[in-house]
């Protein structure tokens, strides 16, 4: 190899030896497009954070807080409880405790008043148990655990439902514009 050509190619190649075996490949735009699927479309979420009893109660609570309109998407269809199990598994301890203690308190109340777990109460019975939600919302969290928990759950279930793939598919079906789109900032190098 001529000396000049050697230097040119040496400059163009990365110095690290183990990278030399790597093919450089075409630019992204030249690659064939492949159909892909999100994990939720092929798998069922396995609850990990709440106990089975707590999870069943959370699922019932989500359904009562945000039922789907006739044929539409509510918390059950949006798998809001499953999502919250995942979110809570990564949340700060204070938030985790609010949910764990709140669900236990709700179950205890259901047992005391309705002699069953919250998971199995009727809508009428559930509504009676959710009466603390009649208290007006205040910026400073209420002192009593049950109201604090129910207010948090009401907001979280709503967001988890409205921001779900299922809910947005329902919203977009009737209109030409896709729902729930936002401008996302990628990580800054």
């Amino acid at each position: 190899m001529k000396r000049r050509r050697f230097f040119q190619s040496a400059l163009a190649a990365p110095a690290a030896g183990n990278l030399l075996a790597q093919q450089s490949g075409p630019a992204g735009s030249e690659l064939p497009k492949l159909e892909i699927s999100p994990a939720e479309a092929v798998g069922e979420y396995t609850p990990r954070f709440f106990s089975a009893g707590q999870f069943a109660s959370l699922a019932r609570l989500a359904e009562v807080l945000m039922p789907g309109p006739e044929g539409g998407v509510g918390a059950p269809e949006a798998k809001a409880a499953e999502f919250l199990d995942f979110l809570l598994s990564q949340s700060l301890p204070e938030r985790q405790q609010l949910y764990l203690k709140g669900l236990d308190a709700l179950n205890a109340e259901a047992r005391r008043k309705q002699h069953q777990s919250f998971a199995t109460v009727s809508l009428e019975q559930a509504n009676a148990l959710l009466e603390p939600l009649r208290k007006p919302w205040s910026y400073e969290p209420p002192a009593d655990l049950m109201t604090r928990f129910l207010q948090a759950a009401k907001a979280d279930v709503r967001t988890a439902t409205i921001n779900s793939r299922e809910f947005n598919a329902g919203q977009s079906a009737g209109s030409r514009r896709p729902a729930g789109i936002g401008l996302y900032w990628k990580a800054i190098e």
């Binding site: 009562v64 807080l65 979110l87 919302w137 793939r165 947005n168 729930g180 900032w185």
Partner: protein, 526 residues
Amino acid sequence: MPQQEYDVLIVGSGASGGTAAYTLTKRGLKCVMVEAGPLVDFEKAREFKPVYELPYRGFGRPGRLPHVFQANEFNANQWVDEKEVPYTHAPNQPYNWVRVRMVGGKSNFWARMSFRLSDYEFKAKDHDGYGENWPISHADLSPYYDRIEPIFRVSGRKEGLKQLPDGIFVADESPDTEAIQRVARSGKEYGMTVTKIRRSLGNGMLASSRNLLLPEAIATGNLTLVPNCVAREISVDRNTGKVNGLHIVERHSRREMHVRAKVVVVAASCLESTRLMLNSKIANSSGVLGRYLMDQFYIGNSVVALVPEAKNGKARRNMIGGAGYIPRFANLNKGQEAGKKYIRGCAFDFSTGGTPDAKFFPAWGKELDDLLVAARGAGVSATAMGDVLPRYENRVQIDKSVADTYGIPVLNFECKYSENELEMAKDSVATLAEVWRKAGFEVIHTNDKPLPPGYSIHELGTCRMGTNPKTSVLNAYNQSHDIANLFVVDGSSFVTAGTQNPTMTICALAMRASEYLAEKFARREI
């Protein structure tokens, strides 16, 4: 190659640094601008995404930005990572320090509300006896506001108000809807005026240092912009006592370098500027560097109401919609008017025609859905913005036990609101609720508890200006009392906070200081 010595080194490329560069380069000074963050290509940095494709359905990764209440899963990457550049405070005294590190700084993201301060702020001590006056008045700054406003293209409606001076506006002639007129009518007896929100239009999409100031500065051929360099310490010539440059850390490689300059202009944003000077151990013969930390206290959704006539989809054209601004209305005639348990005052901005959040309705399930449908487009909601007093006790200092990822010691905050702010919040929110009830609105929620200090992202003070070198850090031209070739041109120089969003004032001060600097430089007086 011998290292070049620049005329002026500017730290930070936000609204304040951008204005300094814009002004100084046009006067022919050779400037170098050192910016901690990258030059972000907005096209590449952002993309539209459906919320359900985000891993946390919009909630964001729990605990990632605990102090940035404005953060969500879409914008989380735009803020300074609290682990990369941390700060400390006592657990029971939180401070929300919200930061952006990229070329253009926070002006890439601000809400663009653009107001002037008035002599109620510049000469606050004369009015109510508290604290200090600024060494300047509105008349001194007015010629600079007159030049900054057209650059940012501030839209507004002239009102002739003493507490909110008019500016050079792109006239906002849009009519007020009936809902806004109703607030104006019933607010009159409480001394309230309702005006348009004055807002920087910029080029329509963006009104930032990045697109309005820096390009012009670079076009002069006199600005060298250096992103990705974090200022560590301002260097001082021990023989002359003057500053002579800056030690920097290159962000990616962590290489340490020194840049030489005849003058240093610090514009790293209020608290980063103060941090840099405290870490450099300069310009603090007064002992007040870091003291008198202020902002505006904010209460989002301080009053939330429904316009009954607009409920159930019955809003006629012009009945509701649009936004309004209520400038300070308390203690205008006297420092402390009868019945007021506080001095100074609070302003509100409010929007009409939205739908209040579900949490404001004490219901769930189908009942909640029905209430939300009925309320759709009938909502009115106000944010309170209150004047925070400059108090010696509210301060930042260097926390030697913690360093950021670049090895630079971080700030510790000691800051809380006083009785004056809390009483002001209570009275102002109660007054607005009363005004709205009188206007016939159905008030569904009030809150008079301010968010934590810092939330407004209007941190001010800590390097204040003044005539007395014993009680202030800077003179009336943002020049250090101690070091003649050191200027600090951001919000740290404020003496009082006022209720008005500060950026127009920051820019006007930076322009005035830079012209003064250029004149002195030309006459070799620096």
